[in-house]
């Protein structure tokens, strides 16, 4: 052991503690930086490794995997809740709502039974029938808009995913180059993890670390979105059955349907809401409109207007159940013609005969809808269904948000910055630095003493 080696040890110690202090100071200054992963130094006995590789990012791969899953789950639930929330508006009570329009229409039918000869009462039937048509049209339009918005959310989500995939691929190459040259690439890795998290919020992904700075980013575990050599497989949306979108990925120049892989993330949530609750609510609304049209037309066509003519429809006939709500309208047979309202059961007893008006009023309590329900029971069921869909979606959003926060807390526990902890680390390294200085000072003194003896 020479005095020079003591001096060398002192220098090594100073370097190591400087680096450790730098890591702690970086951690403190990034305590509030989104996506920042704290750096840690491990000073080995020979103090050489630190100098070679620098501070390391403190990450737990298991938690990182869980975080991606939680982000996809939260993104899905949030997108679903956003998409289906429109159902609350479609079926909420209030002026112009479907419920109040149907009430007014049924009351006007009851009034027609009381005053079949009164033109104003007949006009009221036409007005309320028109308002009912408007309410169906409005509800249908809101659902249509919500479906279009869900599709837009899918397309926008995919565009954002593709943009991030290219950034991730570029960062992978940069990280690989930096680390081959022995440079520290923690910041680039933080950026890449942040981008991967943003992709996971939109589509479900898994990360396969290639160990050389590059990764393989997989969609649902089956399809590569970013390859280890930095190639990107972009996702695109194409129109599918019933206006629902299908997701495609280009594999070796060919388009492959990967919709089944997109089961979560905001894109998956929007797809599910569009194909599930919104379509189902639309189908139920169409069914209700169709049932009302058929039942009232059957009753109305059996009666006679004050002009003695029978066989007229009250509502425009529908070609099919699908689209019945959108196309729900007062029939041209009676439009603007109060005298064509068929309140009588025979031509000879008009206008005071109310027997067919009573038959029309009785439709309100007849089991004409699906499942033997009355019209109002069917609407009530639809309201209950829609409310449950929205409530479940909101609860799911809340649960998945809580689950995400829990995993984020776990990650924070491992990878987050504690200012107090870093300050203690800095104090510790400050002391170590002072000790190393003291070593150099002592060695210098020893050297000086030795030279003085010779002189």
């Amino acid at each position: 052991m020479s005095i020079a080696s003591i001096l060398n040890n002192g220098v090594k110690g100073m370097n190591a503690t400087q680096m450790a202090t730098q890591a702690a100071s970086t951690n403190i200054s990034n305590a509030a930086t989104v996506g920042y992963t704290r750096r840690s130094t491990a000073i080995l006995p020979d103090q050489s490794l630190i100098a070679k590789s620098g501070p390391k990012r403190v990450v737990e791969p298991f938690i990182e995997r869980r975080l991606l899953g939680a982000k996809s789950g939260s993104g899905e639930a949030s997108a679903q809740a956003t998409a289906v929330r429109v159902l609350d508006n479609v079926f909420a009570e209030g002026d112009g709502s479907l419920g109040s329009a149907l009430d007014a229409f049924q009351v006007s039918m009851a009034n027609l039974g009381a005053r079949p000869e009164d033109t104003a009462t007949r006009q009221q039937v036409l007005s309320t029938a028109g308002n009912l048509a408007a309410a169906f049209g409005n509800a249908s339009a809101q659902l249509k808009t919500a479906k279009a918005e869900a599709n837009e959310a899918v397309s926008a989500g995919l565009a954002q995913v593709n943009d991030r995939l290219h950034q991730i691929a570029g960062l992978g190459t940069e990280i690989q180059k930096a680390e081959i040259n022995g440079e520290e690439a923690s910041e680039l890795r933080d950026q890449r993890d942040l981008l991967i998290g943003e992709v996971a919020e939109r589509v479900p992904v898994t990360v396969l670390d290639q160990g050389n700075g590059q990764i393989s980013l997989m969609l649902g575990g089956s399809y590569q979105l970013v390859t280890p050599d930095g190639k990107v497989g972009e996702l695109s949306a194409v129109a599918g059955e019933g206006g629902n979108l299908r997701i495609q990925k280009t594999v070796a120049g060919a388009k492959v349907d990967v919709t089944e892989q997109v089961k979560s993330g905001s894109v998956g949530g929007a797809l599910k809401a569009r194909a599930g609750a919104l379509t189902e609510a639309g189908n139920k609304l169409d069914q209700l409109a169709s049932d009302i049209t058929k039942a009232y037309n059957t009753a109305h066509s059996a009666g006679y207007g004050t002009d003695g003519i029978s066989g007229r429809n009250l509502f425009a006939e529908q070609v099919s159940v699908s689209g019945s709500a959108e196309n729900f309208a007062v029939s041209s047979d009676v439009l603007d013609q109060p005298s064509h309202i068929a309140a009588a059961t025979s031509a000879s007893t008009t206008p005071s005969d109310n027997r067919n008006a009573l038959a029309l009023a009785a439709v309100a309590s007849a089991p004409i809808a699906v499942g033997g329900q009355t019209v109002m029971e069917a609407l009530s069921s639809l309201i209950g269904y829609s409310g449950s869909i929205v409530q479940n979606a909101q609860q799911s959003e809340s649960f998945s948000s809580g689950a995400l926060q829990q995993v984020e807390s776990l990650r924070e526990n491992v990878s987050g910055v504690s200012s107090d902890e870093e300050m203690v680390e800095m104090m510790k390294y400050q002391r170590a630095y002072q000790a190393s200085l003291k070593v150099i000072s002592v060695a210098d003194q020893m050297m000086s003493d030795l030279l003085n003896i010779r002189g």
Binding site: S100, A110, N111, R355, G387, E412, M423
Partner: protein, 292 residues
């Protein structure tokens, strides 16, 4: 367990966000008095409230209908009362002139009075209330009887819906009150009576007493029927009124929030928010970094 700076702030942020949401919900409920404003607030209650709202609207319409029917039937009953009084007068005249004490002049005067009663009967048979001929059945826009006493109305009894599935009769047709087409219908009997009186036919007048009593019996039966109809309309109206009230109460229970609960919830939510805000102010911002 490590507790990081971001974890502390995120936790407080989450608590404040939740507390603010709770205050907003409590404010909405206290401000509107409504617990259920949209289906997702309580899907089961919203669905049930819709059914009850529909029932209430139809019941309200039924209350109006029953009031209209009751008024119409009461008017009809009043007309029947006038008819019965006129018929009784005719019967009294017949009874007075069916004895030997009545002179020829008495019978001639009585014949004139009977013809006046007959004309009154046609007028009563064609009574029009609120634009409707009350004894004309489903043809109530035109008179029920021709001037010669022929029934030209509709023989049906009109019905009205008071509640879904509950119809009540809204009148009685003239043929059931005055008789129509039969040898003993009221107009024919009065015609025969006037003729017998003009002819000073004492036995003929006496023979017609039975026909007059038959008409009186028919009248009483008609009044009885109308009385039953009035009762039915009132009972149905009361049922509709009760249905409306029940539905209103039910809707209230389903979607409204009582003021005490709303106020208590609001106070609790505001207390929780104040606590969350106080916690946020207590986060140690200095710590070792601040040198404390």
């Amino acid at each position: 367990m490590r507790v990081t700076d971001a974890a502390v702030f995120n936790n407080v942020k989450r608590q404040m966000s939740q507390a603010r949401q709770n205050v907003l919900t409590a404010q909405e409920q206290a401000g509107t008095g409504m617990r259920v404003q949209k289906p997702s607030d309580d899907p089961v209650a919203a669905a049930a409230a819709r059914r009850e709202t529909s029932r209430q609207k139809l019941a309200d319409a039924g209350v109006s209908a029953s009031e209209e029917v009751t008024l119409q039937l009461e008017s009809t009953d009043s007309v029947l009362n006038d008819v019965f009084a006129a018929l009784t007068s005719a019967h009294d005249l017949a009874l007075e002139n069916a004895t030997a004490t009545a002179s020829s002049e008495n019978r001639t005067n009585a014949a004139y009075q009977v013809r006046m009663i007959r004309e009154q009967m046609v007028s009563l048979g064609n009574t029009n209330l609120a634009g409707r001929y009350v004894f004309a059945g489903y043809r109530d826009q035109t008179p029920a009887f021709a001037q010669d006493g022929t029934f030209v109305g509709d023989p049906s009894s009109k019905e009205l819906q008071v509640l879904p599935g509950l119809n009540v009769k809204a009148g009685i047709s003239g043929d059931k009150v005055f008789g129509s087409g039969s040898p003993d219908d009221m107009f024919s009997v009065l015609d025969k009576l006037a003729s017998a009186l003009d002819a000073n036919d004492q036995s003929g007048v006496r023979d017609l007493l039975k026909d007059l009593e038959t008409n009186q019996s028919r009248m009483l039966a008609a009044r009885s029927q109308v009385g039953v109809m009035i009762d039915s309309a009132r009972v149905a109206g009361a049922a509709a009124s009760q249905q409306s009230l029940n539905s209103k109460l039910q809707i209230g229970r389903l979607v409204e929030v009582d003021e005490i609960t709303a106020a208590t919830n609001l106070v609790q939510a505001q207390g929780a928010l104040n606590a969350a805000l106080a916690i946020a102010q207590q986060i140690p911002t200095g710590g070792l970094v601040g040198g404390k």
